[in-house]
Structure formats: C-alpha cells, structure tokens
Amino acid sequence: MAKIHVTTTVNGEPSEFLCDPQQTLLDVLRDELRLTGSKEGCATGDCGACSIMLDGRLVCSCLVLGVESEGLEVETIEGMSSGDQLHPLQQKFLEEAALQCGICTPGFLVAAKALLEKNPNPTETEVRYWLAGNLCRCTGYDKIIRAVLDCAADLRGA
C-alpha cells in the first residue's frame, strides 16, 4: 500500500512519518513514533485513554487518521511535564492517590489540562461532565475529581 508522508509537530518538536491512509493517529503515535503514553482501551472513542490535543482541541487519537495531522500541532502526555518539572495536575494526581492501575491516567491528565485551560474554576459537576469520556474502572472517579478541583484551586491561588 502507498504510504503517505506526513509532516507535523508533536509536543513542540517538528516530526515526520510515513503512514497508511487508514492508520489512526493513535497507531502512528504508538507504533511509528513510539510514543506509547497514549493508550488504546477501545479504539472506538468510548474510553478516552488515547486523549491528545490536536491543534488545541481535545480529541481521541483513535478517531483521527494519522494523515489528518498534516501541518497540525499534536500534544500528548509525553509533552505534559517540562524538563524534570511535573505539571501541577501530574503532581496533584500523585499526592492525592488519584490513580490505581494507571492505564487511564494519561488520558485523564490530558483531558483535565484542557479543561483547566478553558475553565480555571470548574464546579464538581463541570469536571465530571468534561471527564465523562475518560473511563476509569479502578478509582470510582472520586480522587480524580478531587485532584482536578484541588489543582484548579491551587493554580487560581498561584
């Protein structure tokens, strides 16, 4: 099959890859670019474990074709911390035990970061609905929601 050459930006770095037309961006990130932080939990957009930012929009990378990322900005969990500095959300998830197995954690963090950038002062209900597309089977969501709310409060205070 004729592979297509794609030029894009991943976590701020110019990036190129070859992919088949039907390859999803998630497949490309994991198999071609070896960025395995984005997880495949369903491949149908129902679990959010593959959440990434595409040109500033939160999307499921399993529902985006690799070729669609031509010329766009892609941000994944691997780009969330800066140097040896964790993002405040990452730090808060650790401090408040907001993860158990950790498979859904990258998706939750990417989605929560997108929320706080759009709405620095969300209510519990707003957080729950924003994150409804991120499934977690371990935590019952309680500590995740608290971590996001507490982090938002810290960031507003800072």
Binding site: I4, L63, V64, L65, A132
Partner: protein
C-alpha cells in the same frame, strides 16, 4: 485489502470532482467519529476518503440574513463557543453538544451526524425542528434542501454519490422564539439516544404559541416530524393540558423497534415525556428572548 486513498481538497469544486470520479466508492470525512469506527470494524471498505476540513466553507460559521450559516464540518466544540448560535438556536447547539464526550465534541459535526443517517442521531431532530436548510453541491451544481428531506432510512440519504453538504442555514428568528432538544440515555453521558425530542416555538406578547415544530428521534426508521404535535401547541399558552396533549400525540406517533438500547414500549412512553419536557424548556427560553 482494497487500496485506500486519502485526499484533502481545499475547494468544493475539487472535492466534488474527487467524489464524482470515485463513483460511489468514496466516503466523506468530516469529524470522523462515525467513519473511523466503521472503517475499523470493517463495516465499510471505501477506495477513497475525502477530508473536507480544509475547505473554508465547511469549517466556518457566518451570519446570513439575520440567521447563520454553519459549515458542515464545524465541530460541536466550535459551535458551542459561538454566542450567536447559542442565543438563537440553543436547542440545535445543545443537541450537537450532547453527542459523545468532550473528545468527540472536538470532532463531531452537524454534517457528519446528518449524513451518517442514524435514526438516533441527536442533532437531526433539533435541526428538523428548527426548519434548517442545507446547501448541497455536486458535479451537477448546487441545490438547497430541507434537513428533514435528507434522511430516508437507516444509513440512507437523498444525497447523490458525487454530492456533499457544504453548510446548514438557520433562519433569522422572530422575538420570543427559542428551541430545545432532550434525549434519554441510560447513563448521563456516552450513550446513543434511546429517544430524542426537539421542539422549536414562537410566542406572542401574551404568551400564546404562534408557531411550533416538533421532531422525534430513535422512535422510527427516520426522524419523525410531529405535525399534530405542532398543532396542539399552536394557539395554546403551553399550559398543562396542551403539554399533556403533546405527550400523548408524541407517544402515539412512535413506530420504534426493540433493540439493545430500548424496547418499543419504553421508547413509546419516554418519547411523550421528553417531547413534553423539551417544549417546557423551549417555552421558558422563548419567554426570555
């Protein structure tokens, strides 16, 4: 393994030419939230994917004769950020925004939701209730159509293989007009509608309903337009008895099926309840504008 190609035209003309030459082996990619799942599951096997998101007309929202033109590929997230549409057509905006998660909202579009032609599509009853029109372009030229004339059955539309929807036109509204869309799902998010109900209406100064349109989703092979539902509302002040009438005509109009998402009995009952509740919300909104 049939060879799949991907094209990303930047003009409508290019797009329709590609569709024409692919003679019905092409699929249009807008948000892709249905298309990619169908590809993955092997439900479809196209030779060409035409991504329309680089075409200016399909991704912009602009004012038009006091109303709005909304590009077919505009995402739910973008529509939800548009003050004008939110104030004038809150029902249409909330319907598109109900589809899937925040992540899905980053991609899902009015055009995709309509052309996927699912009986349970959330945005469609709301668009039908709003009397929305759509602009269709094909190799034979451009035509306009009412949204309610597009879907003719599950997965079937009146679009020709070489045609694409460019945008939707939501007309200017008289004062004291508004709309609302409600759906029922087992969870609070992430499900496909078991029943959907869209209501659009206009009130006069005395609060009497002068114009109304009611549409139901997921209770028949295609979205239903409830002429009778409109007539029980028009001339009333949407008092309890009018709303009770709406409830019964809505239930009476249903021709649903039993499937994994709901039973005939359940869908029939809840359709009436949702039509009634949606009408109440539309009324409250109309009183405020």
């Amino acid at each position: 393994m049939s060879e799949l190609n991907y094209k990303c035209p930047s003009t409508i003309d290019e797009a329709t030419k590609l569709l024409a030459t692919a003679n019905s082996n092409a699929k249009i990619l807008a948000g892709g939230t249905d298309l990619l799942v169908q590809l993955r599951m092997g439900m479809i096997n196209p030779e060409l994917i035409v991504d329309i998101k680089k075409i200016k007309e399909t991704i912009e929202i602009k004012e038009f004769n006091g109303g709005y033109r909304v590009g077919a590929a505009v995402s739910g997230a973008e529509l939800g950020e548009h003050e004008g549409m939110k104030n004038t057509w809150p029902g249409v905006v909330e319907a598109l925004e109900l589809i899937g998660s925040t992540q899905i909202q980053g991609r899902a579009s009015l055009g995709g939701n309509l052309c996927n032609a699912s009986p349970a599509a959330d945005a469609v009853p709301a668009m039908i209730a709003s009397d929305a029109m759509c602009t269709i372009v094909g190799s034979m030229g451009q035509r306009e159509s009412r949204v309610e004339d597009i879907v003719i059955g599950p997965g079937q539309t009146t679009l020709q293989p070489d045609e694409m929807i460019v945008d939707f036109v939501f007309p200017e509204r008289p004062p004291r007009s508004s709309d609302a869309y409600l759906r029922f799902i087992p969870r609070t998010e992430m499900d496909i509608a078991v029943v959907g109900a869209g209501v659009s209406l206009t009130l006069d100064e005395s609060g009497v309903c002068t114009n109304a349109k009611v549409s139901l989703g997921a209770v028949a092979a295609t979205q239903l337009v409830l002429e009778e539902g409109a007539s029980v509302l028009i001339g009333s002040t949407l008092d309890d008895s009018a709303l009770e009438n709406l409830k019964s005509v809505a239930s009476a109009a249903c021709r649903p099926i039993n499937d994994k998402r709901g039973t005939i009995e359940y869908r029939t009952k809840v359709a009436g309840v949702l039509a009634q509740r949606a009408a109440k919300i539309a009324k409250q909104r109309a009183e405020k504008v």
